[in-house]
Structures are given as C-alpha cells and as structure tokens.
C-alpha cells in the first residue's frame, strides 16, 4: 500500500457521494425500521415477558446489536459482488491500477471507504436510537468505532475471497451460511448465554460478537477492560487479513 491509497479512498467516496441516494434506504432507513420493529414492537413483548436479563429494556439491548450487525450486513454484499464487478464485470480496477495506484491501494481504498460509510450509517442510527430511548450512556459514540472496525474486517476478508474467484457462485452460499448465521447468533437479538452450551464458546470466533460487545458496552455505559479486548480483537483481525487480501489483489490486478 502506498500513499495513493488515499486517492483510491477518494474515488470510492466520490462514487458514494454521487450515488448514495440509490442506497439511502438500505443504508440508513432499513436499520432504523429494524430498530422500531425489534426494539419497540417485539421489545414490548419481551419486557412484558421474561426479559433480556439485567436491568436493560429490550430496546436498549437490541439497539447496539443492530448497529453492529448492520455494519456487517451492509458491507458484505458490496465486498463480494462489488469486488467481482470491479475485477471482472465492469473492470474499473484495471483502470485504477493503470495509474500510480497499486493493487494494494485499490484494496486499501475499499476497506477504508467501507469504514467511512459504516461510520456515517452508525452515527445516523445512534441519533435515532437515542431519540427512541435505546441509548443509556454518554459513551455511546464509541459504538461507532465498533461499526467502523466491523465494516473494515468484513470488507477486508470478503474482498480477499472475492478477488480470488472466477465467478460469483459461492457468494450466495457465503451470505446464507456465513453472514446470516453470524447476524442471527452473535448476541444481536438475544444474549449468547442462551445458546446451547456447545455453541457458546464458538461465538468468540464471530467478529460480529466482538463488535456487538463493544457497541453494547458503549451504549449502556458498561465500559471496562473487556471492551478494549474486544476492540483489540477486531483491530488484530483487520491486520491479519489485510496482507492476505493484498496478495490476492496483487496477483489478480498486476498487469
């Protein structure tokens, strides 16, 4: 990666600035609808029923879960099909590496721009969640960090896979058998303690779980040493995956 990675980031953000309206619903409105349905509607049932444990309303419990989960769900498709598009279907990556940008810069630009966009979505989500009463602490802005890191991990990892493929046949499988299970079982909607005992330890392998923990500690004000540990896991994941993706982009895009 060279300093031209900033040009790659600029390119991605410029495209986003011109086309964001087309994805405004899925990027900004959809997570808020989920929050209204799950936090307010379903939350009414949960709070009348057994409850999510502790003193948290269900709305307060699920809001940080949805915030983090959205960072994963919204970037996964873009990293898989978007990268295949850039390499093969539309081929703009070939154009980019014909400039002083290296293949690593193209990859780095994608990862950074995913972080920026997820950060914007997370800020919008937090504001609405706070208005609805789902945010209990002034530490809440830290949750944005969780969203940014998750988006970067997701993009770095899935782009590293996509750039090595010749077609998109595996992508739906990754979404259905990888991304969606993570979304549903990483402590997003119910505490991981409820998972079967065999599965509970497995959850440490889920990047989303680490992100949900950071976000939930932030919005509920339960910041402690573990919050830092979970954030460090996400940073470490980005650092481990980046070289793998870089190699993939270099092999595929070096003319």
């Amino acid at each position: 990666m060279t300093r031209a990675v900033l040009r790659a980031l600029e390119r991605e953000l410029l495209v986003f600035a011109r086309t964001w309206r087309g994805s405004a619903f899925s990027a900004f409105v959809q997570p808020i609808l989920f929050l209204a349905a799950m936090g307010l509607g379903l939350g009414g049932l949960v709070d009348e029923g057994v409850g999510a444990g502790g003193q948290l309303d269900y709305l307060e419990f699920v809001a940080p879960g949805l915030l983090a989960a959205h960072a994963l769900m919204a970037t996964a498709g873009e990293a898989l099909w978007g990268v295949m598009g850039g390499v093969k279907w539309m081929g703009q990556f070939s154009g980019m590496v014909a400039t002083p940008m290296t293949p690593g810069d193209v990859y780095g630009g994608l990862v950074l721009s995913a972080g920026v966009r997820a950060g914007l979505a997370a800020v919008a989500f937090l504001v609405v969640a706070a208005v609805l009463g789902g945010v209990a602490s002034l530490w809440a802005p830290l949750a944005v960090v969780a969203a940014v890191l998750l988006a970067m991990v997701t993009t770095a990892g899935l782009a590293a896979w996509s750039v090595r493929r010749q077609d998109d046949l595996t992508f739906s499988l990754i979404m259905r058998l990888g991304v969606i299970p993570l979304f549903l079982f990483s402590g997003t909607f119910f505490p991981v303690e409820q998972l079967p005992d065999v599965l509970e330890p497995v959850v440490v392998l889920s990047p989303l779980w680490h992100g949900v923990e950071v976000a939930r500690d932030a919005t509920t004000g339960a910041i402690d040493g573990w919050t830092a540990v979970h954030a460090a896991v996400l940073v470490a994941l980005v650092l481990v995956v980046l070289p793998i993706g870089m190699r993939g982009f270099e092999r595929r895009l070096t003319p």
Binding site: T19, S23, G44, L45, V46, R176, L177, L184, Q194
Partner: protein, 270 residues
C-alpha cells in the same frame, strides 16, 4: 420436399404445443439449478436460522403471547409469520432481481426468444419455477415446524397451498413491478416495499402491540393476509373469515398477471 418430410428426417425441431411450451422455460431453470444444487439447498436454511434465532432465542425472553383468545408459545406464533414471509421473499427475489439480471445482463431471454418460445412463455415459465422452488422451501419449513412441535393442527397441511398462493401473488406483482424498473438503482424501491412488510405485518409481534389506527393499516397490507392465513392454519384456529385473505391474494394474482402480461411483451420484443 414438404414440411412433414423435413420433420421426419429430424432436420428442424417439431412445433411445440403452445399451451405447455412455457414448461421449457421452467425446465431450463430446473436443469440450471440442479447443476448448482448447493445454491438451491442453502435457501432452505435461511428461514430456519431465523426461526432458531428469533423464534427460540428471543422466544425464550418472551414466553407466551396471546392469540385467538388463548396463549401460544412465541416460537409457534413467529414461525407462521416466517413461513409466510419466506414465501413472499422467495417469490419477490426470483421475479425481480433474478428476472432483471437475466433480462438486462445475462441476456438470457434474447436467447430464449430465438427459439419457438414467446414472451408469455418466459413469464409463465419463470413464475412456475418460482412457485416450484417456493413450494420446496415451504415444505422444508413446515416439516421443521412439525418436528419442533410448532405445528399444532392438521390444518397445517393446508398451509402449503397457502404459501404457494402467497408466492403466486407476490411473484405476479413482482414481475409486473420489474417491468417498470429502469436500472438497479430502482431496486431499492423493492426493499422499500418488502422490508417494512417483513417487519410490521404482525410477523414478529401481534397487532395488539400497535395503536388501533396503525393496526388497521397493517390489516390492509398484502403480507398480513399471508401471515394471518398461515398462523390460523398452523394453530388450528380456522374460521370462515379467512377466505377474505384468500380473496385478497387471489386478486393480487389477477392484477399482477394482467399488468405483467401487457407489459412484458413490449419489453422482451424491444
């Protein structure tokens, strides 16, 4: 040499029966998907994973909910909502995103129309395939519900044809809608219609959680008809009033087919 002599020698394909030739379009999809069977089979898991997460995971936090004058476990309540939603999602996805990719990018229909098949056969064949696929997924979901004890009545068997009706309603309206799409950017409108229905059609929580005015709006939405039917059948709370929901869905089929039929011809021959 006359035509029948040429046919006898097998030089050109025999004419296809105009009434059944749309099945060639369906057959094409069957062959294609059987080759990529993991893609087909993996579709079974998505609604099941939702059922385990929201039904059993969140269900443990909820306990029972009031329904039809008694209480049912939350997982039973939400399972029927998932069943109807999965039928809608599958049908909409097949007739919008998939249809559009095939139309604009894969140019599949250009190839199809170079054969004796007509635009009408394309539409019928694609919808037939969407319904077959949907019936396969619904069967898998219903069997799972039964195994987990969430199907409380033999009426649950009738939920299968109901999911096919839900699929037909959304497939025909989806296909009609696709013909108005200009580019992929317009597909955010589909999410705009589908996501609120998925979340707010009494799928995850009963109408009683809404203020009265909003509850009435929900009662008028298309997916609510399917959810109400599936829920009544899987819990055995069957009554004559359910036919209203059937009529609503049947009307969607009629309107969708009429609009799609008129527009698809122009679109494909362009």
């Amino acid at each position: 040499m006359n035509v029948s002599a040429v046919l006898d020698r097998g030089r050109i394909a025999p004419p296809l029966d105009a009434r059944t030739r749309f099945l060639r379009m369906t057959e094409r999809n069957v062959v294609g998907y059987v080759r990529h069977w993991p893609l087909l089979v993996s579709g079974v898991f998505e609604p099941l994973l939702y059922l385990l997460s929201i039904g059993i995971g969140v269900g443990a936090l909820v306990g029972d909910v009031a329904y039809a004058g008694r209480t049912v476990p939350y997982e039973t309540f939400v399972a029927s909502g998932m069943l109807a939603t999965a039928a809608m999602n599958g049908a909409v996805f097949d007739t919008t995103f998939n249809f559009f990719i095939r139309l604009k990018y894969a140019k599949l229909y250009d190839a199809v129309l170079a054969t004796p098949l007509e635009p009408r056969d394309v539409a019928l064949g694609e919808v037939t395939w969407a319904l077959l696929r949907g019936a396969f997924y619904s069967t898998a979901f219903l069997v799972t519900m039964a195994l987990l004890g969430m199907a409380e009545s033999w009426w649950s068997l009738a939920a299968l044809p109901v999911t096919v009706l839900i699929g037909a309603a959304f497939a025909s309206v989806g296909l009609a809608g696709s013909t108005f799409m200009r580019s992929f950017l317009d597909f955010d409108f589909i999410n705009l219609a589908i996501t609120p229905m998925f979340l707010f059609s009494a799928t995850f929580f009963p109408l009683s959680e809404y203020p009265d005015g909003i509850a009435w709006v929900v009662r008028l939405t298309p997916l609510y008809q399917g959810v109400a039917l599936c829920r009544a059948l899987t819990t055995g709370e069957v009554e004559l009033g359910l036919l209203v929901h059937v009529a609503y869905l049947a009307a969607m089929v009629a309107v969708g087919v009429a609009v799609a039929g008129r527009r698809i011809d122009a679109l494909l021959r362009r």
